[in-house]
Amino acid sequence: MSGITTVDRDVDLQELAAFVWREADILDRCDYDAWLALWTEDGHYIVPIGKGENYEDQVNVCYDDARMRRMRVERFQQGFSISSAPPADTVRTVSRFVLQGATGDEIVLGCAEHVVENKFGRQRIYAANLTYTLVRTESGLRIRNKVARLLNSDGELTAFSYLF
């Protein structure tokens, strides 16, 4: 892809990585108000099932527009959900950043995420490929779309009380 040279010249990978790391820290701390503020209003937070990319017409683990994201966060915060009061603790790392493209105001960034969760002293490990569509706004980088494709997403997972 010829765009890559331009991308490499114009986009600072370190800046993008720092943004994604900050999000990872926010998610591990369950600071969901801060998380909502990282988004633009128009995109989706998607945890798909299988390899399909027609998210609107397929069953996903989640497919959240801005309204659903806010509802999800409210559910976590209100304290009525037994699975999220308290939620599992998580420690995650995000790495293997690869720029996938940049057009107009959009940057597409891929990376790997490993999450270890702990509940009842029982630890589970999940891995996902993350694909971000980031946009540069006056107030800095924002997430327009985020797709978290879990390993074994079309197999048996377990219930999650946190976000990827």
């Binding site: 099932i49 683990v61 989640c62 497919y63 209100q78 959900s81 009842f120 079309d154 219930a159």
Partner: protein
């Protein structure tokens, strides 16, 4: 687990109003259940729409046994144990697809879509009396109702229709959410929970838990929808349908989706209704499809492994004594308007699955049951709720919607089968 407890005869562990703790945690009892219940029941394996064409197949399970559900060249459904007759390798590890035959990857034995052994590499070393016709994949007895495919390892049990009995008319009602189209599987959520399978079996007609466990879901709805899900204000009930089956009617006005079509369209369906009008559907069709999109107003639990719950199937699979896998199968209208199917998918994602607003809370309390039974194992599990005002229903005892009538139905069937 300590084995100082002697469970005695399994059937003694179940009384009408209580069951004993080993039902959730005794490994030997679990082995007996696999034999006495899962090898002698009609077990749900797939919906017909998951194997739509000749050669379509999907992997499934009968109890702990892996099977392939496949439509053969004649259009008949076969359920084959996924095990090569040579030295036992699984012949298929593709979850779903289309094929003209199955070939074992180990030594290359080839099987037809009906499981018959077609070819063996280098057959000479087996000699002249090698009988291929006796070495087909193990095929189960298969019957369907309303395109729901069931299989059994027992050639002697009653026909499926008889086993379902009064549950059949509830299946018929449930399928009206096709809205005039055939019901089709649109996708599914799958997850495991560290719990015994019967904790799930108890749950689908347990409306008592709904306002407590699903409070955060109910609060995420608009006022009108919240009222719809306030079950106990209505004239709902739960009824024992025999053979372990039960139905919990939560939203009586949604029992028959062809009725009450003149009711006002709920606000959260207004956008869909308008989209359908814009597509050219006339008002009666719009109302029928909108009503179907919301799903039925009841949960039907079929012993031992599937329930039809509002708008989806919930299929359980016993993995081990303290491990159960669950499929939440999303249903839609085959050939129906995309906007309606899209909305059904969004509704499914809202409640079901690993990140739904409902499932994680169910999973948490189910696991808590399994953890709690480590203590005080001499204490009973109470299933006596609603006995005080239970009355004879149409097909069996009928209790208040929050009654444990459904659990009593399941456990009486369990007791009957385990005593055999």
């Amino acid at each position: 687990m300590s084995l100082d407890y002697n469970p005695g005869r399994p059937e003694d562990l179940v009384e009408h109003d209580r069951v004993q703790t080993p039902l959730y945690e005794d490994a030997a009892l679990f082995e007996q259940e696999m034999e006495k219940i899962f090898a002698h029941s009609w077990v749900f394996v797939a919906h017909g729409s998951e194997v739509p064409e000749k050669g379509s197949f999907i992997l499934s399970w009968v109890g702990q046994q892996p099977v392939i559900v496949v439509r053969d060249r004649k259009g008949d459904i076969n359920v084959l144990v996924n095990r090569c007759r040579h030295r036992a390798a699984t012949v298929c590890e593709v979850k779903k697809g289309k094929t003209s035959s199955f070939q074992c990857p180990y030594h290359g034995w080839g099987y037809g879509l009906d499981g018959s052994l077609r070819g063996v590499p280098y057959p000479e070393q087996y000699g002249k009396d090698f009988d291929k016709s006796a070495l087909g994949m193990k095929a189960l007895r298969v019957e369907s109702y309303q395109n729901m495919i069931f299989a059994t390892l027992d050639d002697g049990i009653e026909p499926l229709a008889e086993f379902l009995g009064p549950a059949k008319k509830w299946i018929d009602l449930f399928m009206k959410q096709g809205g005039g189209y055939p019901v089709k599987v649109l996708g599914e959520h799958q997850f495991t929970v560290p719990m015994n399978w019967k904790i799930q079996l108890e749950n689908t007609t347990d409306a008592y838990h709904f306002p407590v466990v699903h409070k955060s879901f109910i609060q995420s709805l608009d006022k009108e929808a919240e009222a719809t899900f306030n079950f106990f204000d209505k004239a709902g009930f739960v009824e024992d349908l025999g053979n372990g089956h039960s139905v919990a009617v939560m939203i009586p006005e949604l029992i028959d989706l062809d009725e009450n079509l003149d009711d006002p369209i709920p606000e959260r369906f207004e956008e869909l209704a308008q989209a359908l009008r814009d597509e050219g559907f006339d008002e009666p069709r719009v109302r029928k499809i909108v009503r179907a999109t919301g799903g039925a107003g009841f949960n039907l639990n079929l012993f031992p492994n599937v329930s039809l719950s509002l708008a989806f199937f919930r299929v359980l699979r016993p993995v081990g004594v303290k491990e159960t896998a669950i499929r939440h199968v999303c249903l839609g209208m085959d050939g129906g308007p995309a906007a309606a199917n899209r909305m059904r998918i969004r509704l499914q994602e809202h409640f079901q699955g690993p990140m739904g607003f409902g499932t994680p809370d169910d999973a948490e309390v189910w696991e808590r049951v399994q953890r709690g039974t480590l203590g005080g194992r001499e204490l009973p599990i109470l299933v006596n709720r609603g006995l005080v005002d239970e009355v004879p229903g149409v097909d069996g005892p009928r209790g208040h919607l929050s009654a444990e009538t459904g659990m009593r139905a399941s456990y009486q069937m369990w007791k009957r089968m385990m005593a055999q």
